[in-house]
């Protein structure tokens, strides 16, 4: 690219060549095992340096930043609509879900409310995003525990959902569909009926996974009682989403703070599990996928007619102020704290991503775990690297 960044790059590569050898060199007392940065278990690029005694972890430290792309800085030099493109890629699996809280926060500052139909579409896409997101987790969980087949089913059935998202938004992966004041387009013809069929397939997928994994004794033996998080500890680490609900905390932002989304018009249930172990976390997620299917189904039934955009100026300037809006994303609470100075671009955006908090418990959680359990625990906490590092 440019000359400066080129040279900077080269100098950096040279200087860090030694650091890359860290795999072997981090010898302290006992054995040090370095998992990552690129390791099949870490969903990308997390590195965990664990000091071992035999196969037991004495001390584990996650080393992050391999996916740090400087989001909070970049948002300061982009206009609001451009930021939407960017934030899609924070938690890359639940792409649409990333847009929503940002748009909602901006709407709050501009004191605009999206029309009911737009809210409905938002909520449906939000939940479809969750289904696609979490169903991949269910497959991936199998891979981490050694069962390769579930992940293929997950990829297979996830495609159906992605198809629907693509049909509605034009983007299979990063829709960039949410607008301040509404959504970009209306739903295409026949979409609702197709989505119903897809939901049926997804329910079958949930049953499949339920039988294949959760009904397996080895799976239970590997996950029951592993990585137990007491509710109080989890809360003080800021765990959210299914991770904290699996510890028995009945708290879901969809129900408790439905700002701008229409969950209050749907009859649904917040799933919790008292155990707080890896099994509970996985189980809660499985139930949530099922619940999401129900939510979408009901929303499809009650889809109101009407416009999909509120009146918004063509060039968006957000009035001065500060706002924080969080939604219940697939990974947990995701919020944006926007400071606006009345310009075209945010003055400061603090991105409160779920995985960052969810992972901050790992040093505490991994102490005394066995190496194979480390994998189970990491898998069950379910993080996306982009969501940690931003």
């Amino acid at each position: 690219m440019t000359a400066i960044s080129d040279r900077r790059q080269m100098a950096y590569v040279a200087a860090q060549a030694a650091d890359a050898r860290v795999n072997v060199e981090l010898e302290a007392e006992g054995m040090t095992l370095n998992i990552g940065p690129q390791h099949p278990a870490t969903h990308g690029t997390l590195r965990i340096v664990a000091r071992l005694d035999g196969e037991q972890v004495i001390e584990a430290e996650p080393i992050m930043g391999y996916m740090h792309r400087g989001y909070e800085k970049l948002t300061e030099v982009r206009t609001y609509p451009q930021v939407t493109t960017l934030v899609n890629r924070i938690d890359w699996l639940g792409s649409f879900c990333n847009e929503v809280p940002f748009i909602l926060a901006a709407e709050q500052l501009m004191e605009i409310e999206a029309p009911p139909r737009a809210q409905h579409i938002r909520t449906i896409l939000f939940e479809l995003g969750r289904i696609a997101h979490v169903s991949l987790f269910l497959g991936d969980l199998g891979v981490q525990l050694g069962a390769v087949t579930p992940v293929f089913y997950a990829f297979r059935d996830r495609e159906h959902v992605l198809n629907q998202i693509e049909a509605a938004t034009g983007g299979r992966f990063h829709p960039n569909f949410d607008r301040i004041g509404g959504v970009k387009d209306d739903l295409p013809a026949g979409w609702i009926a197709e989505t119903r069929q897809v939901l049926q397939k997804l329910r079958e997928f949930c049953d499949l996974i339920d039988g294949l994994l959760f009904g397996n004794e080895i799976f239970e033996a590997r996950t029951r009682g592993i990585g137990v998080i007491p509710a109080d500890v989890g809360l003080s680490y800021g765990l959210s989403g299914a991770n904290i609900r699996a510890s028995g905390v009945d708290w879901d932002l969809r129900r408790d703070a439905p700002n701008g989304l229409v969950y209050d018009k749907v009859d649904w249930k917040v799933w919790t599990h008292p155990d707080g172990d890896a099994y509970a976390r996985s189980w809660v997620r499985l139930q949530e996928v099922r619940e999401s299917c129900d939510i979408v189904e009901q929303l499809l039934d009650t889809m109101p007619p009407g416009p999909i955009m509120a009146k918004v100026p063509r060039i968006i300037k957000v009035p001065e102020g500060e706002a924080y809006v969080a939604t219940e994303n697939p990974l947990g609470e995701m919020g944006y704290y926007i400071v606006s100075k009345g310009g075209l671009e945010p003055f400061r955006v603090k991105i409160r991503s779920a995985s960052f908090n969810n992972m901050s418990i790992t040093p505490w959680l991994l102490q005394g775990a066995y190496v194979p359990d480390v994998i189970t625990i990491l898998a069950s906490l379910y993080f996306i690297l982009g969501d940690i590092d931003r």
């Binding site: 095992l33 390791h39 981490q144 069962a147 087949t149 994994l213 080895i218 066995y370 194979p372 994998i375």
Partner: protein
């Protein structure tokens, strides 16, 4: 062998023929199993197609693998112990091939008719652990070492149920000779009905199940694949291997599955024989030379059925944790197989 060829070959001739035959007996079914199960069956189970481009339906995929690996750079890690590192895959592969020496494929289609047949086979099968330990240690990598140690611990643990499961068969057949075990199954009777012979899977079902479980563990496959647990140890003791040496481990792994399936079909499924009533229908004698042709085919079929089960399990189950795996061997499999032996012995004396 000589009878099959109906020519009088000198002893060195037989030796050469036998050596080539061993290679064929190991490699051809292994190739079949890799293609059929690793590439195709699993793909179908995961609703995919598997390799399709190399040859019709991807049937030449394995040749492509070999051709490619021949060209690959042979990497030695900088701090590795080069000689040991280089030697390890050979030990694994050749010890596997030695196993095939005692397997009978027909009344005369045997390599060596050893008195201690199955005993020697079990003995040799334990040698491959050494290759794995060598690989793990010599790679100078923590993943490899951990993988090697885990593999060794596991193989030691599961060697025991493996041997004990065989003991039941040996007691019932009254011999260690593999050929005699086959004949014992042909001549056996089920409550006076000799039409099916007596495959020992009927009387030694517990032993059969234990044997197959132990085989799964000996192969270090899911649910017992801690040594090469991909999500933890990258690929265990194989992590640092590339090119041909890796291919040797790769083939060795599948060859072991094939050989153990051969052993299991000899021990439990009547080996190369077909049910005696079918033999009668065909108008054949059990010792007829025809069985030197039918036998291998029968063995291949039985082997394919057994390996199918092995790979079915492999691609469906999650894996055990190391301690659960050890517990399972010591607290479940070994006691059960000991009880099985005791009951078999008791019945043998009583009946």
């Amino acid at each position: 062998m000589n009878a099959l060829l109906a020519v009088d070959v000198p002893w060195w001739g037989t030796t050469i023929i036998k050596s080539i035959a061993v290679l064929l007996v190991v490699l051809l079914p292994t190739g079949t199993v890799v293609y059929l199960y690793l590439f195709k069956m699993v793909s179908f189970m995961q609703s995919r197609l598997g390799p399709m481009e190399a040859g019709p339906y991807g049937s030449l995929q394995l040749l492509a693998e070999v051709g490619k690996n021949l060209q690959k750079e042979d990497i030695f890690p900088a701090r590795a112990d080069r000689n040991v590192f280089a030697l390890a895959p050979y030990i694994v592969l050749v010890s596997t091939m030695l196993l095939a020496v005692v397997v009978p494929f027909g009344p005369n289609a045997v390599f060596t008719d050893l008195d201690t047949g199955i005993f020697l086979a079990l003995a040799v099968s334990s040698v491959s652990v050494i290759g794995i330990l060598m690989a793990g240690w010599a790679s100078a990598s923590k993943y490899s070492l951990l993988g090697g140690l885990r593999a060794a611990g596991q193989l030691i643990a599961y060697e025991l149920p493996l041997v004990l499961a065989v003991v039941g068969v040996v007691i019932q057949a009254g011999t260690l000779n593999m050929q005699q075990i086959v004949y014992a199954q042909i001549e056996g009777e089920i409550f006076g009905f000799g039409g099916l012979g007596l495959p020992f899977v009927l009387t030694q079902f517990v032993g059969f199940v234990i044997f197959m479980i132990a085989v799964q563990a000996e192969l270090t496959q899911v649910p017992f694949d801690m040594p090469i647990a991909e999500s933890e140890l990258v690929s265990g003791y194989m992590t640092e291997y590339s090119g041909m040496r890796f291919l040797m481990f790769f083939i060795g792994e599948f060859a072991t599955a094939v050989i153990f399936a051969f052993l299991a079909s000899v021990l439990f499924l009547g080996g190369w024989s077909i049910p005696p009533f079918v033999t009668e229908l065909l108008g054949l004698e059990i010792d007829s030379a025809w069985f030197n042709v039918i036998g291998p085919i029968v063995m291949l079929t039985k082997m394919l059925v057994l390996t199918f089960i092995i790979y079915w399990v492999r691609f469906t189950y999650p894996r055990f944790r190391e301690d659960q795996l050890q517990k399972f061997a010591w607290k479940v499999l070994i006691p059960i197989s000991l009880v099985n032996i005791a009951i078999t012995g008791l019945l043998k004396v009583v009946l």
